[in-house]
Symmetry: D2
Subunit: 312 residues, 4 copies
């Protein structure tokens, strides 16, 4: 992660301020506020603001005049009930705002989650920093042979080194030419007085997709959990999963009861199709159950065996 001294000073200045509020606060999240949690080689996740806590979920579910909370165990029980039965609207009552620095190809996946508010750093207006994502060698993996959208084994050393050289050289050269076309240096200083300089909205097209961008991203808890259930999943691309994992730690500090319910009823849960359920019943009744007569494809069958810790 590469914050400038000015950026660090701005962050520390904000952390130094404190004022009284009548709103609910979450001390564990206050402690995290504004800090940059590093992700990948130059990225980060920072919590900028938040609204609500576990109590706000309970309060909305009960539509109460005060906090609406009772004993901690009763509140947690209600939150678990709401999560289990997919009563989603009370979770929408909590809101959080992040500042995220991330490679453009990750941003393109991320933005597909439409139910959020976004303000991205504008490369029409400003010059992007000279920062691009270069995977660590252990993440330079080959195409998976079984899953057309996944990764397989790590590349061997020589091939990995060549790949890294290409990524580094192409991103660097494209960035240098970006500045050359702009006729500006990174700080916006004009380079050659006899040149006009290409418009920023055009020059940016020369950058590679591993260039870092940044944005403010604001989302309610319900939609954040949906995002995390997809992006903290083992099938998500590693480069977005690490952002999801950084945000998981934030959610755990912010709304511990909702987080635990999420882990039990979403992350650690499995959905059994009608056919899978029928098969499990048959197995429990001591009957033989085989893929061909189950109505499932081989792939589904092996998914089920995986859930049940069996070899198909």
């Amino acid at each position: 992660m590469s914050l400038t001294d000015d950026q660090r000073a701005e962050i520390e200045a904000q952390r130094g301020h404190s004022q009284p509020t009548r709103r609910p606060t979450v001390p564990a999240l206050e402690e995290m506020l504004y800090r940059a949690f590093p992700v990948l080689d130059h990225g980060f996740v920072r919590v900028i603001d938040y609204m609500g806590d576990d109590g706000a979920i309970v309060q909305a579910a009960r539509v109460s005049y005060g906090r609406g909370t009772r004993r901690v165990s009763e509140d947690a029980g209600l939150i678990r009930y709401l999560m289990r039965h997919r009563h989603s609207t009370p979770f929408e009552m909590c809101e959080i705002k992040f500042h995220v620095k991330l490679p453009i190809f990750v941003a393109r996946q991320w933005i597909r989650h439409r139910m959020a508010n976004v303000n991205e750093y504008s490369a029409r207006y400003s010059i992007l920093d000279r920062e691009f994502y270069l995977p660590a060698p252990e993440h330079l993996a080959a195409q998976s042979s079984v899953n057309r959208q996944g990764r397989g084994a790590v590349l061997d050393g020589a091939e990995a080194a060549e790949v890294l050289d290409l990524l580094r050289a192409d991103a660097g050269r494209s960035y240098d030419h970006y500045l050359a076309m702009l006729n500006e240096d990174e700080s916006g200083q004009r380079l050659n007085p006899s040149r006009q300089g290409l418009a920023r909205e055009l020059a940016r097209m020369n950058l590679t997709l591993n260039t870092y961008t940044q944005w403010y991203w604001k989302v309610d808890l319900q939609n954040l959990l949906h995002f995390l259930s997809l992006r903290a999943d083992a099938h998500a691309q590693y480069e977005i999963r690490v952002y999801a994992e950084a945000m998981m730690a934030v959610v755990k500090a912010w709304v511990p009861a909702a987080f635990q319910a999420f882990v039990d009823y979403r992350l650690g849960a499995v959905t059994l199709s009608a056919q899978m359920l029928a098969t499990v019943r048959r197995m429990l009744a001591g009957e033989a159950a085989t893929q061909p007569e189950s109505g499932m494809s081989k792939r589904e069958w092996s998914e089920l065996m995986g859930y049940l810790d069996r070899n198909g």
Copy 2:
């Protein structure tokens, strides 16, 4: 407005608490927090929580590491620029949560604004209070003769009195029968031990549309301003406009710079169609301009003359 003593005590208890936070706070809005601002005969608007301030708009527009604010006048200028040019995403960075008590027929209009989060008091689960909206005599108006969805003159005394009697009697009787069908009193106490009592999800259908309901309503500033531009407008039905007006006072306290920009560029602004603009140009050039040759309908022409403070 009819809060019970318990409800008042819950509200006061919440107002009495204060804790330190690193988040931006708005003292003028803190002062309002949790208080019930009366609307209509039994309704209210209460601010329950908020996130962000004028500075958050500026911060998002600049995607900065700290607060992003500069001099107050510069920030206000940027906010005015964003409002004027309909750069809406920075305004989405502020969020507010209201608790609202309102008649069901108003709730039905309100809910058409989809970009908000809602938790409504459930009449499947709980018993509604014996409260219904009865208009003050000065709001008992006749159907407008010029606008098929508006009001005209106030009803004369005798007709108004009859109308009020009908409204009061029908709402009261329907409510009493609602309890009778439930076989419960307002507090949920069973009435006649020999009766089963109709399910709540069914009995509610006997209530009239002026019965009060309540909900938590959470919305971002951009969507709130859109709501206010439609519902604080002179063409909005009076019974929803008064809620919009109560919320206008809240927005003014919360984000004064955004509020002023909203007043200047939305509420007090007019949109001139291509034909209207051509007519204004002609008038400024000293040329004659008449409705028939303007390309406008009579209605549009008279709208334009209204904007220009002229008699058509």
Copy 3:
């Protein structure tokens, strides 16, 4: 269901027209087009328009230049894969538009599904018909004693008769007074020339919540399936479930492959929490499994036993 002769004629006229199109068409759905399928005592569901078919889901998943479809079995396999892995965006490529007549209290539940387009008949502008929902005796149920938002046993005959009398009388009287306050009859004819007549936007508040309203409701397939998964569920209120069931038949005719995948992977599926899954594994391994040591509440335990067809 109570269509007027004029309405029937309009519907038949539309069904009589046919024109050529290059768009994909679904003959089974064309056959249903515009027809009113009765629901409850006066309600209906009509399909007014549609866009896309099973092939459109496949086409979008493959981002192809033509139809993108291959063999029927391959396409169905892809659709099942997308449904199973919650790849939701290809299902958003199909769109359908309904005309629905429904009681207001049902409309209030329905509208909570925000991801749809709605145009409701305006009672600010027009006069509502004299139609209200009166449950058939077998649907007049008592409050459930085990589920605070459900129904229990059917009311016995005498109590049911009294309830029906109250519902009928109150709805009728409120409607008659609605017209009296309007000083109009159902067709908009002025009644008493010496009275002004209350504005429509006000008089409507005297109606009871079982009064019928109607709307055009347009939604994409993904959001429709989400609606159906909640509202065709056994826990949904009967009065909205019957609308969901009418729409299920439409979806089956429209996109048969997507419908079957929905039945297998959503409607007939169950979600096992982390604790439930651990318990099932233990049972399959022949180990004892009891509620107290399972980490589940009694309620969750009995849900699991229900899934597995066991008595807890």
Copy 4:
């Protein structure tokens, strides 16, 4: 535009099919269906499907049982009224689906419009084509000196030539290295049997932002018009504006009455702030009006003078 022969054949095959439908059809749009309208050097816009027409807007506004349409002039009048008074929901009743090929940096702007459905060609799953956007010389403009997010004068010949050389070389080299890292050719054929080949989800990060992608984009008319009002505007970046212009022609063929209302009340309209309106009134009254006493900034004043065809 570069369609392969296979793609052309697929398109022609679809255009060749015709079947009867009871749905409303728009012959002028049927004529356009599936055809690729070229945009930029390799991009295009194709209409894939549509639902509704001008009549559907009228039908929804009237919530009618049949088509709801009357005389053409009456319908157009109602549509103009709806557009003028921002009654947006009837316009949501029409839906259209496009297939678009566009550079990634344009796609990143476009996707910010959240109220649409998108399926993008997956570079996690497939190999992108060797196509990148290279501006025509007349669009290679310098950064604007007055507008920080706009373009100024066209670059002079020598500088333009250098810029084009850099853009072409960097995009080509990055693409070639993308294939080299994949160890595949454009058709997915393995190149060097002794190499593993980098995973597609990783290799794509080496591509430059002018590489073409493609997607299916489905949107309702209301949101499409909002998109067009922002992106067909003179302040929009040229590279997205040309897509908006291609879609304008489609909308004109599809819903001619709504299109004309859009041109008159949106595209050709201006919004006067409270201060601008006060100034126009003063000018019409023959009073002197100057910027300093107007309450407007210099920039706003000059905008107003621009609207009025005056030199400030």
